[in-house]
Structures are given as structure tokens and as C-alpha cells.
Symmetry: D2
Subunit: 335 residues, 4 copies
Amino acid sequence: MVGQSFINFLQGHPWFDITFLGASDRSAGKPYHEATQWRLDGPMPAAIANMKVEECKPIERAPKLVFSATDSSVATEIEKAFAEAGHFVVSNSRNYRMESDVPLLVPEVNPDHLKLLPLQAKRGWKGFIATNPNCVAIPLALALAPFKQYGIKRLLVTSMQAVSGAGYPGVPSMDILGNVIPYIGGGEEDKVEKETIKILGDLAGDHIENLNAKVSAQCNRVPSIDGHLVAASLELEQKPTRDELLNAIRTYSGIPQKRRLPSAPAQAIYYMDQQDRPQPRRDAGRDRGMAVSMGRLRECSVLDWKFLCMAHNTVRGAAGAAVLNAELMHSEGIL
Amino acid sequence: MVGQSFINFLQGHPWFDITFLGASDRSAGKPYHEATQWRLDGPMPAAIANMKVEECKPIERAPKLVFSATDSSVATEIEKAFAEAGHFVVSNSRNYRMESDVPLLVPEVNPDHLKLLPLQAKRGWKGFIATNPNCVAIPLALALAPFKQYGIKRLLVTSMQAVSGAGYPGVPSMDILGNVIPYIGGGEEDKVEKETIKILGDLAGDHIENLNAKVSAQCNRVPSIDGHLVAASLELEQKPTRDELLNAIRTYSGIPQKRRLPSAPAQAIYYMDQQDRPQPRRDAGRDRGMAVSMGRLRECSVLDWKFLCMAHNTVRGAAGAAVLNAELMHSEGIL
Amino acid sequence: MVGQSFINFLQGHPWFDITFLGASDRSAGKPYHEATQWRLDGPMPAAIANMKVEECKPIERAPKLVFSATDSSVATEIEKAFAEAGHFVVSNSRNYRMESDVPLLVPEVNPDHLKLLPLQAKRGWKGFIATNPNCVAIPLALALAPFKQYGIKRLLVTSMQAVSGAGYPGVPSMDILGNVIPYIGGGEEDKVEKETIKILGDLAGDHIENLNAKVSAQCNRVPSIDGHLVAASLELEQKPTRDELLNAIRTYSGIPQKRRLPSAPAQAIYYMDQQDRPQPRRDAGRDRGMAVSMGRLRECSVLDWKFLCMAHNTVRGAAGAAVLNAELMHSEGIL
Amino acid sequence: MVGQSFINFLQGHPWFDITFLGASDRSAGKPYHEATQWRLDGPMPAAIANMKVEECKPIERAPKLVFSATDSSVATEIEKAFAEAGHFVVSNSRNYRMESDVPLLVPEVNPDHLKLLPLQAKRGWKGFIATNPNCVAIPLALALAPFKQYGIKRLLVTSMQAVSGAGYPGVPSMDILGNVIPYIGGGEEDKVEKETIKILGDLAGDHIENLNAKVSAQCNRVPSIDGHLVAASLELEQKPTRDELLNAIRTYSGIPQKRRLPSAPAQAIYYMDQQDRPQPRRDAGRDRGMAVSMGRLRECSVLDWKFLCMAHNTVRGAAGAAVLNAELMHSEGIL
């Protein structure tokens, strides 16, 4: 599914062309439309349908820039092979996210974490791996970024995640129609807790000093199609007013906005004033699925503030995140 | 909808018969099947279909025990009129819940709050009003009851609520299909926060001393049909082990269980060991919809513990709650 | 899923006890709660949880009456082995349904087809196989039965089928949330077309003379949970009035009703006068899921009449159908 | 909802600008964002948010071309007033659809029906009313158009319609979650039956000679969001082969395609070879929601052929249909 999202999202991209499709040995040699069953809404892009699928190895034809949507069961070896061989691997897989020399990027939030990349040379790699976070951690980190200046001490989050996050076939309809499943496998809660403090951490020489905050997550699957919604409460060291916070959120901006990167949303965070927003179905598609929406900032009687944030999980939370990472690197002259 | 749930739930009740149906003037005089459109699953109970609907006033034919599912826009006056005239009003409406002389009952948790009833005589009422809490506060209070002995200090809850909680026509399908609405009107979050500490409060002479805990709620509507699921995190004064807590939950029992009240679930709380339970569609119907299910008790890195709880919102959270309240009072010799 | 439905449905059955659970070699030897993951709403029946699963062979411990929910990939051999060894196999699998010496039973409609059973002795079997139809053909055949006396010539049906009909994991949620899939695999349309005319056929000595009607089906998957809804149009040889037809439908009754078989619905067909019924979620559960509901009988400008019919697909359309078949045979003295 | 769809669909239109918004007296005078609650996915177009809503009368400021999404309870009078005053009313309302001097247009199918417009001068109107059909009749008529040359004699259709077709608040979620409602109010089946034969009818001097075919429709509401799916069976006078039919479908083209009207889909009909298509969620958005998709053409044992067709009901079936009608008229020099 994420592979298909990459293909969809890269159609018409001004900087990147798809010239190579790597897949399992089972698919190698087949045209793409035979190797896969298109699961996304709308037809398979015609430009890609007849492209031959190749073995997922750093062969000569493979381009310098490689996007990886590899399953975590094989990503460790495959991504390493490409990085070793000199490719720039921009990965959506979780395998290298928490490695100390691998940046876990949200381009608006921590572009300076790119400075970790040269450290990977110590592994004997000619190329590198850069990763994007989990699909919940991305909107969460972006929504938290404007709060960081006030000292985030504690954070409690409850997610309501769409079925597209589980891939295909993913969640059986018998499990989710008219239901909620209060559990998401693959260590989802752990990922949200750990990735968030790495993303919001500070570069300290040759490593990231994690944000010194306690984070606790509860992750739930709900019968929405696209868009992970996150209810958060947090405690701050300083005590800004609501207006100060709203101003910080609304004026928050990063390199993607300043450089108008092709996939960047016009605004880093869309704070919505309506009391019943953001909503996955209505807001996930904003700015081609790259927007992070936020709403209902209000005082929390237990911690300090509570709010909601949301992003399209397969776009801003996966394929689009990786493409924006590559755009950031390209604009930095790294690619 | 709650009125219909009362009718459904009282079919075949061993102690209570429906002998009187009060409704708005517009409906009065019509047989029930003409006065209403049956919205619950299954057919309208035949026994009630031809019963004549009466004006909602304490006329002579009205029975001593009156269940109220009156809209909050009119409940204040109607319930008062019945209580004044000597009726025992067991109400699901929110209007009197927070009055200092009105018990807000969860029979397993605070049966002693019934001692507030005689205080209502000071209002000049010959009868009384007893209420049940909001449909989120009920499973929450029951799930929290075993923790109370360890001193509940702070509580954060995020609810995922079913559409039946909004009545009929309630939530438009255009709003909720494939979506989540992170807001529930009518002051839902406020109700959850305030009712929970009253339910768990202690009787102190002529009033309830609220539980001295901070509570913060975020309420969401999800596309489930029945069953409100609540993700909670809480901080305790004492530091019991997980085994002590699980034992307290599993052995928690109240008067409804001890006296085997007709509508009481066999167990006060069903703690489920499966990591993906409770689920609204699969677990809400347990014990005729009267069970509170709980699961995933685990350490919380921000507060102390987190868990999920769930109950059928129109049964245990509304009509069934009121009937169990009446059964408690009957077993106490009050009715 | 159908196996679990059998277990659920047989709880508390007055005539049949579950004494033996046969499954694949992989599961044999394990207690049932380890061999399977319970997928139905509500908890696994306690009585069955610790029963040891056996190999699915006609070993000595196996009881005379055997219900089969075997996958069609293995049903041909397994059911034959049991029948050969003298067991009475009451099967929900499709493998033997269209065999000329195997009855395809809907007990209200064609109980005389049981007379085919002795013919199976020619196969060298000491026992026999009796089958129930596909989950669409059952409500359709029952709804058509009252029309049969007027000569059914042509029949067009479009089904809207619930996801539970596809088993587990069955339909991926990504395929069906907010969607319709206008195709159901496994030859569904063919089954509906062929089984319907066999069920409604007449016993002619040693075989069934199929109903001499043309049938055409279009089968669709919709995001309902339980209950297959069927829109039908049909042409008749004779021209009864609507009142005559309604009367035939409402008074239609069969052996299950006359003998009050334990699983029989009180009425063979519930014709509903409301213009928007039957509805899967609201009506599938009637009479423990064994009712066939019908509605909207009206003139068709192309053929003669059109109407809707509906039944719970995993109960009346599968496990409950087989149990009712067994009850019919028991009441006939066959078991 | 249709009004909002008009606004959405006309954003960036090369020929038409929104310069006037007419609404009920209650809304007149307010800026649009105050007069309405935006119900479509994504944010309200900024260009329109502050436009002042006017009374829905042919006042001087009103433009020549007027799109009408007026409720049928008031459309008769309002549309007449505008037509009388010389406006060109392009209406999505049903009120004038079946009038003998009013074209019921599907631009690919019956552009010559525009010749009815001058007849409206006999009503004393300086302008005229042109209408688009019902949201089921549109995809159906387009899918049938290639069959017309073979003589359509009889047609049976069963629709599975999305909730957006009912407007807002429309279908209560309690009615449709996990359910199907086999009835759509407002005379839906009648509209489908009558409009289809008018659309496919031939201009005969001063009136339309309806297609001489019998049509029977069954209309159902299913829990899809956008996209009405129609299962159809039809009988033909001639007996073309499947290949001839497929060729006729695939090569079918009309003025919108030939003139590349701005809102025209690239192809009049997208016939999909996959056996499980078209699907509402996956295919309704094709070509900005203006495509009609078709699939599963196969022999019908009762009539001659059966197939499925589908279109986005609020775009191709409503607002987009009206805009395409206006584009057709503009390209004909009528506007």
C-alpha cells in the first residue's frame, strides 16, 4: 500500500521521476500491473503500469535516490545493501528509525537532524539511510513543535487510527465495521512514545538528545478510511496563555514552507476554529494530503493543555513524508 | 431512543410492569405504535404497541414508580411535578444529576448515596428523584471503583462513543461514515468530568463529598453503533502492584451482584485478558448489555496506570442503568 | 466462522449436544480455545472452550450425527468418509449440493426431498449427506415458495450481501468501508441461480425435477455485518392479485412450524408492511436469526412482481439452516 | 449540499464565474460562510466565503446564467420567476424535468433535446429552464446509450445509492451504519423509470418521443459515501454479440468529448475489465467525478444482458451534470 502511495504521490513530481521499481524476487521481471493489484482509489497510473519490476537489489540500473516502503521483516538487509552501495535511501520503514546515526525527519521540525547522515560513513556505507517517523508520530510531532519552546514535560495521547494504516489486506472488515479495536500491533504505542521524543530532540554533536519528556500513548483502530486523529494532553514548564500558544501554532513554519518545497503544505499547521474539527474524512486530503490539522486547544485540568491533531496517514504519514524528506535533502544539496 | 430502550429492556421484567406511557401532548391519546416510530433493532414489543400514550403528568392513573427518559429541555418541570405529587422518579435525564440532594447512582459503586433521598422532602416533595449518570461516566466510574481504595488523584480520559448515544435522528450519516467527530455537544466532556467525581464521592451527612481528583475528558464520536469505549490514564496516591489491581478489579462486587438483582450483570466488571479487548460491537451485548468490560491495564509512563473500559451506552449507560437503580431501591425497601 | 456459528447456535439445544469437534490435523489434540480464535460477538461458550479438538475422521468416538462446516477444498473427501462410515452428515458445504441423490433442503419448502437419502446407499455409503443451500438461495427460495403455485417462469435477483458471509478474515476493510463490491467470488451468482431451482423443484421418483424457471442473479457485497438482502423480480404463469399473493405469503407454513421444531421461526415468512423494510441490521436477528423477512411486494412493469427478502446469512443461511435440517430429520425419525 | 457542490465544482472554471448567490430570505444579506455550514470534504473555497448571499429572485444583479439547486418544495415558483425574467436556468431540481417543453439533458446522449428550449417562449418566458436528470438516471442513461441502436425493450435496475444523495442531514447514521435501507423517498424509483425513457427518447418536432421500453427500478440506500451503483438487466430487439456491445460502449462518444467541454470526462464511459468493478469509493472520483464507469457486461438468462454502471451522484449526478449542461449550451451558442 505504501509503495502504491509512493507511485501515486510521485506522479507529476517536478524533481523526481520513477525509473526503477524494486520488489520481491517473486515479482521481479513482471510488468508492474501484473506484479501488483492496485488497491488505492482511482486507476493505476498509466505511466507505471507497464514498467518492469526489478529485483530489490542495488544493481547498476538502480537510481541514486531510492524510496523504501519495504516490509520491516526484510528492510534491515535491503536498505543496508542499498546504503552500503552508495544509494541515498529515504525510507518509510521502521527498522533504522531509532538508530543513533539515522535522522528521523519531519522537515518542518528537525531539518538539522540531517547532520547525522555523515556519521553513517562509519558503518562503511557509501550512501545513507534517512527515515520518516510513524504515521501517528508525524502529526503529533508537528503539532507539538510550537509548544517546544515552553518546555514539554509530559504528554498523554490517544489515537484513533484509520484502516489504511494497516496496509492490505490489513484489518478484516468483520473486525472493524461498527466497531473499535483498542489495540494496534507492531508496537505502535511504543513507536509513538519513542519516536516523538527523538523527533523533537536536539542535535548534540554526533547524536540526538531526546526531548526530556514523558510520553504515554494509547492507540486505537476505528472505522475511518484515511487520517489518523490524535487526542493529546500535555504539561509545560512555562505557562503561556492560550493566545500565545495559538499564535505559536498559526505562525509555525519551517524550511518546507520557506523554500516552497514541491510537496510542502502551504501552512505547516492548519489550526481550525470549528469546535468539531479536525475530522479525518473531511480534512485528511487538505493540501494533497500533506497538511497537519489541529483543533480544540483548551485547558486541561490534569496536565496543562489538550488538543486534537490529524494527518493523512498514508500521505503525510508515509509516502508523502518520505518524498518531503527527499525534497528537503535535495534543497540542502545533499541529493 | 432511551424511551424505547426502557420498553425493550423492561419486557419480561420480574418485578416491574409497564402500565403507563407518558409523552408530549402531541402524542397523548394515540396508541404507542402510532405515537412513535420504532427505531431499535427488532420489532416493537407487541405488548406495548397498542397501549395508549398519556399526557406526561402525575395524573391518578400514573404509577408510583416512574422512569424518566425526558428530554432535558422539559425534564426539570416534568420530573419535579411527579416528585412533588409523590412519585418515585428514576430518571436518565441530566437535569437533577448534580443537585446536592439527588443521588447519582451506580448501584455497584455508591448505593449509600440513596440516603440523600429523604433530604428531598425539604423541597416539599412527597416523592423523590434518583438519577443515573451519563453513558460515559457509568462504565468509567465502575472501572475506577476498584482503584478508589488506592487514592485516585488524577484522571485523563478519551472516549470513543457510538452513534446511538446521540439519539434519533442524531448523527447524520454524512458526518460519521468513514470519519471521527472529535466533539460531542450538550457539554459531554463537562458531564464526564463532574459526574465521575460525584459518583465516586463519599456520603458526608447530608451531602456528597466529591472524590478529590482532577479529571479531564476528551469525547469523540466514532462510527460504532452501540458501546462507548473509554481510554483512561490515572494517578494513584498509593502504589499497588498490577496483580493487586487486577485482583481488585476481578473481585469487585456490589449489592446488585450479592442480591442478584434481576438486571445485574453476573460480574460487576469483566476484565478481558485479550490484548485487543474490549470492543464495542463484540462486547457491548454481554449480560444483556449490562456488563462493564475492561482491558489492557498497563503502566502509564505519565500517570500511573492506563486501561480501557466499555459499556453498552443505551443499556448499561441509560435505560438499563435506571432499571437497575429501581431494582436497588426495591431491594432496599424504598419502592 | 460457520463452525463457530454452529457452536453458538447449538448452545442449550434441547435435542443435540456437542460431543465431538473435528478439525484439521494442525488443530487436532488442542483444546478448542487454543485451536481457534473466537470471531463471533460475545465470548466463546465456556462449555466448549476446553473440549479437545479431534482429527476430522470417522473415528469411533465420532457421533452418529455430524454437522459439517468444512471448507469446500476438503469437504468432498471428508464428508464422503463420514457418510461411507455410516454417519449422518448434515452439511453446510457446497460440494454435494447439486448431486442428484443429495437433498438440498429448506425444511419449510421441500422436506420431501429427504426421500433422496436412501439413494445414497448405491454409493456404498452406510450413512448419508444432506445439505443446506447457499445463504442467498435460502431466503430467496423461502420467499418464492408461496409464489410457486402460480407458476414461476422468470426470476431476476440482485443481492446486497453482508461481510460475515465471506468468513474470516474475509473482506478486507480497505475494500468495503464506504464502498460496494459488485462481485462475490466462489461462483456465488451461479450457486444462487442453480440452487434455487433445485430447492423449488419437485421430487420425481429418484430425482428432483428442477423448477422450470429462468433465474439470473447479480451479487454484491455491501458494508453490512449480518443479513443478506435480496431484491427480486419475477414473472408468473398465472395472474394472482396482490392480496392473494400477500395472503399466500403470510399464511405460508411448513413442517418446522407445524411440529414446532426447536430452531424453527414462529412464522415461516415475516412480511413487513413498512415501506423501508426488511433491513439487515434491524431484522436479521428476528427469531434467533432464523426468520426470513420480506417486504415491498409491488407490481413490476417488466416482469410481474418485485419484492425484497432477507435472512441472517450465518444463522438461517448457514449453521441454523443445517441444525433445522437435522431437526427435520430427527422429527421424521431419520436420525 | 448540491448548492455547495456547485460552488466546489465551479472553482477555477474557465468559462463561468460565481457572481451571485441566491438563497432563502432567512439567509439573504449574510456572508456565505455565515449563511451556511460547509458540509463537503475540505474547507469552504475562500473566494466564496465572504460573498454576500442575496434573495433568490431575478433582481437586476442576478446574472443571465443561473444554476438552480433549489429544493423541490420551492423550485417551481423560483425557477419560473427567473425564466420568465429572461434568465437561463440550468436546474438540478426535479420540478420541470418531465415537462414536455423542458429538455432533460445528458449532453453525451441527447444534446438535440435542446431544441425544446424555444418552445418555452409559449409560456411567456423570455428565458428558459433546462434540467439534468436524477442521479441514478444519469449513469443509467449513459450506460444504456450504446445499447439504444439495438432496440431496448425491457430494463430492470436495482440501485445501491450512497448517503450523500440524501443531502444534509439526510440519512441518520442509526439507520444506515452496518445496514441497507431498501427504500428511497421522494419517488426515486418512479423518477428512474420515467426519466430514463425521456432521456433516451427521440426529438419528434415539438416533443420528445419516449423510448418505447418498459423499465422497472428497485432503489436501495447503502452505507457508501459517494457514488450510486446500478445493477441492470435489459432485453434488446436485436441480438448483438458481446464484442459488438463492448465495442459500442468503449467507442461511445458525444459532443462533450468531441468539443472537449471543460467538465467533460475524457471518455464518455469507462468500461472496466476487472470483475469486481466499478466500485463507488474507488471509481466515483475519476475525471473529477464526471466519469461514468461500467463493468461486468455478461449474458442474462432472463433478459439478454446484465451489467453494472456507476457515477458520482453529487458531481456527475447533480452539480457537475448541470455545469456540463451549461457548457453544452455555451458551446452551442445558446448562452
